[in-house]
């Protein structure tokens, strides 16, 4: 009713007075806040829920359960961190990962381990995978569309994708770290993992939430 009254008013000051008097301003604020919360919630769904170092440790441990990992690695595991130079959180996560790993993380299961980064804005992902021999793609917080473009390449190149953004499982990323209760949870998109050439043992599948 109040909105109809405003629309019918041609007196600007009168309109403001009516708004104040009828508490409409509170309703507008409330509606705006609700929209902001919903929008923020939607954004958060695209974000990581587990600290970077913890998710990296879990992801690397989980990858050792891939029966094809040694064969694919061919002497060295190269992890490429996919990020977007224009997206602040993506760059922060990339930097944090590179900083954390440069100190001492140089092997896993006795296989040398190396990290590199790929800027999704300017680099050609397929070319980087082929040229450098990338085995694992780590997907930082990006947009779903970019995540889907990464998984399209990963399936073609048989490169396993991992991420700390649980929502990217829907975009076809093979392994994600989400949260269950107050603890981290491994989420595995089994068809995606198979399409990327990974063969995870049942030991890992038992520990994970598996999307068939």
């Amino acid at each position: 009713m109040a909105l109809t009254t405003w629309a019918g008013s041609r007196n600007h000051e009168g309109l403001l007075r009516k708004m104040r008097n009828s508490k409409t301003i509170m309703r507008v604020f409330g509606l705006t806040a609700l929209l902001v919360i919903l929008w923020t919630t939607a954004l958060c769904a695209q974000k990581m829920v587990v600290p970077v170092k913890l998710q990296l440790a879990i992801l690397l441990k989980a990858l050792t359960y891939d029966r094809h990992l040694k064969e694919k690695a061919d002497g060295e595991i190269l992890v490429a961190i996919c990020y977007h130079q224009e997206q602040k959180q993506s760059v922060e996560v990339k930097d944090e990962l590179l900083e954390a790993t440069k100190a001492s993380l140089d092997s896993i299961e006795n296989i040398p381990l190396r990290f590199t980064s790929v800027d999704m804005q300017k680099d050609d992902l397929a070319a980087v995978i082929t040229r450098q021999g990338v085995d694992i793609l780590y997907v930082t917080p990006l947009s779903s569309a970019v995540a889907e473009s990464i998984t399209a390449v990963s399936r073609e190149k048989k490169t396993t994708t991992v991420t700390g953004v649980p929502d990217y499982i829907k975009s076809g990323v093979a392994v994600a770290i989400g949260i269950k209760g107050d603890k981290p949870q491994i989420i595995i998109n089994l068809p995606a993992a198979k399409a990327e050439g990974a063969d995870f043992s049942s030991e890992l599948l038992k520990l994970a939430k598996v999307i068939q």
Partner: protein, 716 residues
């Protein structure tokens, strides 16, 4: 309840409410950084147990607990090839495992032992109403081969776990197989262990399997130990060997995502277990448990991720039977054998929930109930006449002991470097027993003690690597059947029950510093425990008189003994310090060390407290490669303990003048050769040193070659 206790509980409860309000207002969180090297050193399953308090990158490792906690992992148990569960604790900082006999093993934590230490198996109390005050053998009724890990919390844990948790809590977590996701997996494992000092063999077969949506694990163990050969100058110790057989089974069923039911069975039976100190001293010709058994069955329902109000739910129902037959023949009466039979059936139920309040609080709360029913009898066998006579058992036959408790704990992240853990608990007990003695007639014991306890711990991250902890906590031990139903003559008089006994109460203060770095880690704790209302034997009354008035004339005549009762008269103070550290010298080489000092005083008697452990510790080097090969060289050492209580001086287990100090040198190593199995080889006490852990009835093994071989089998 004392005013200070009441005040502390009120403060804890007020704290919970206050910080609940603050949380609701600010909604801010804390991020605690972690070291990637440390995380990479953990097993995947352990990484998945790290709490992540919110979706805003807040996390807390379980090791960030403000409590002083030590954990023995499954990998350590496998590598170190321990003979028994109690012996596995002996290398932990601040823990001394006293062995009255080779089939025993009672841990001292912060100077306390027996029913002042709480033992849990998968969260279910092993302690029951007949646990006695001194060292006992019950921890050795848990098969080391079925254990996944052992968590030892030093200091009181009464708020979460109730009675008996004065000195510490030992939580034994048994092996489990998670429900599978896809195809059926079936695996097996066989394990054998041989040790030269006792000519002992241990064998175990284990199977595990999983499919969708089930997982199961089970095993059978058999152990046969001969008499133990001690170090130089002592040699073979007779009356030490015994046999044991064990069986266990656990089934996990996933009802749906986040909902799981677990059913488990455990059985332990030991035979011909001699009590060495009584036999070696010549007091008894025979003193052995034959058999001693424990059976546990429990079912548990766990649910997680239930919604915004409740995060997790755990409902457990358990039934445990602990029984033992002790056969004794005194040297003075070689024709008479006393056969004591005691059995405790315990029904347990617990309901526990946890809820996160916003981003900064984790509430753990619940209720629990345990009901013990005791069967106790005695048979006197006269070999000369061939007659058997029934007599009163050690405890009141048919007595019951029920305990109920409700608890609340709130873990609060106050602001960036500071978190608090506040807790409160109310416990109530109901004891019913009927006693009969020709000197007193029938006595009906009715007692309903209760206790209110609180605790407050703070953890402050001083830097990324250094953490300080500060805590104050109340503990209690409610009087049990052993305290409430003693009736009869002893060397100094006649003891009658005291139904007005109240719980022993303690206040524990502790301060700790921890450092955690990828190359080194360590901790130092200082604690101070004040125990009040300790249950001790003191002058008492029966029918209003301080003596047994057998002829009813109201005057103490010759032969009419003084009356004694258990009373809350004792007071003690214990303080000590515990330090431990690890330093990675080279990528594959780590130095490890720990040291613990403790001092206890009986304030009522103005003497040292009984059985206080000496200064003791461990020093070692661990060399481990990533190719599954490892070697550990270590020394266990203790200073002489000559600060003795009067009870220690008269204890035949403690040598005249005190227990001498010692230093043993030990080696162990192993190699994992897939798929042929895992080999371990150890040489304990290389220098064949003669030594005794303070208060033990036996000496430690002399030079001891320990060989283990584990063969895994994958069927499907």
């Amino acid at each position: 309840m004392r005013p200070v206790h009441m005040l502390m509980c009120l403060l804890c409860a007020a704290g919970c409410l206050l910080f609940g309000t603050v949380e609701a207002q600010t909604g801010q969180g804390v991020y605690q950084s972690d070291d990637l090297d440390d995380l990479m050193g953990m097993e995947l399953e352990d990484l998945l147990k790290i709490s992540v308090f919110s979706a805003a990158r807040h996390q807390q490792k379980l090791t960030d607990s403000p409590r002083s906690v030590s954990v023995i992992t499954r990998e350590e148990i496998r590598r170190r090839n321990y003979r028994t569960t109690p012996e596995a604790l002996n290398e932990l900082v601040g823990v001394l495992v006293q062995e009255t006999n080779y089939g025993g093993g009672s841990p001292f934590i912060r100077g306390l032992v027996g029913n002042q230490i709480l033992i849990l198996i998968d969260g279910i109390r092993l302690n029951n109403a007949i646990f006695r005050l001194g060292p006992n053998q019950y921890l050795n009724t848990v098969d080391i081969n079925q254990i996944e890990r052992i968590e030892v919390v030093r200091g009181t844990g009464s708020v979460l776990y109730g009675s008996d948790a004065l000195g510490g809590v030992i939580n034994i977590v048994t092996k489990s197989e998670k429900a599978g996701e896809g195809r059926i997996d079936l695996q097996g494992r066989s394990f054998v262990r041989y040790a030269s000092a006792d000519q002992g063999t241990i064998g175990r077969v284990e199977f595990r399997g999983s499919g969708r949506p089930w997982g199961l694990i089970g095993g059978l163990s058999y152990k046969k130990f001969g008499d133990l050969r001690a170090g130089r100058g002592i040699g073979l110790q007779t009356y030490t060997g015994y046999d044991e057989s064990d069986a266990d089974f656990k089934l996990n069923l996933r009802l749906k995502e986040g909902h799981q039911v677990t059913a488990a069975l455990q059985h332990v039976r030991q035979t011909d277990v001699p009590r060495t100190d009584r036999l070696a001293s010549g007091v008894n010709l025979k003193y052995e448990w034959n058999p001693q058994a424990r059976d546990l069955a429990y079912a548990q329902y766990e649910a997680s991720d239930l919604g915004s109000l409740v995060n997790t739910v755990r409902l457990a129902l358990s039934y445990q039977t602990q029984s033992g037959t002790v056969q004794t023949i005194l040297t003075a009466t070689p024709d008479v054998q006393d056969e004591y039979f005691d059995r405790v059936n315990t029904l347990g139920a617990s309901f526990q929930l946890s809820s996160t309040l916003g981003k900064r609080q984790l509430l753990t709360y619940g209720v629990e109930y345990y009901g013990d029913r005791i069967a106790s009898s005695k048979v006197n066998v006269d070999f000369a006449t061939g007659t058997e006579t029934q007599a009163e058992g050690t405890f009141a036959d048919g007595s019951t002991y029920r305990s109920m408790g409700a608890f609340l704990q709130d873990e609060i992240q106050v602001y960036r470097p500071l978190s608090l853990v506040l807790g409160a608990r109310y416990s109530r007990f109901r004891v019913r027993a009927n006693l009969d003695d020709p000197n007193t007639g029938s006595l009906e014991i009715r007692s309903t003690p209760h206790a209110v306890t609180g605790s407050a711990y703070a953890l402050c991250r001083l830097t990324d690597k250094v953490t300080a902890t500060l805590g104050v906590a109340q503990g209690f031990r409610a009087p049990d059947i052993d305290d409430l139903t003693i009736l009869g003559s002893f060397s100094s008089g006649f003891e009658v029950p005291n139904p007005d006994l109240t719980p022993e109460q303690s206040i524990n203060y502790e301060f700790g510093l921890r450092v955690q770095h990828s190359r080194y880690s360590g901790s130092v704790y200082y604690f101070f425990t004040d125990i009040q209302d300790m249950i001790v034997r003191g002058a008492g009354e029966f029918n209003g008189l301080p003596f047994m008035d057998y002829n009813g004339n109201g005057i103490q005549d010759p032969g009419e003994e003084d009356v004694y009762q258990r009373r809350n008269l004792g007071r003690a103070r214990i303080q000590g310090s515990e330090a431990e550290g690890r330093l990675r010298i080279l990528p594959f080489l780590t130095a490890i060390a720990n040291l613990a000092w403790i001092r206890g005083d009986d304030l009522a008697a103005d003497t040292p407290l009984r059985r206080m452990p000496p200064l003791r510790g461990k020093l070692g080097l661990d060399w481990s490669t990533t190719k599954g090969m490892w070697i550990e060289v270590y020394s266990l050492f203790a200073a002489k303990q000559d600060r003795l209580a009067p009870g220690d001086v008269s204890d035949p287990r403690i040598p005249d003048g005190g227990t001498p100090g010692y230093l043993t040198l030990n080696l162990r190593g192993g190699i994992d050769i897939r798929p042929y199995g895992n080999f371990t080889l150890g040489c304990e006490n290389v220098t064949n040193q003669a030594y005794r852990l303070h208060g033990s009835g036996i000496d430690g093994p002399g030079i001891n070659l320990v060989i283990g071989y584990e063969l895994p089998v994958e069927w499907l």
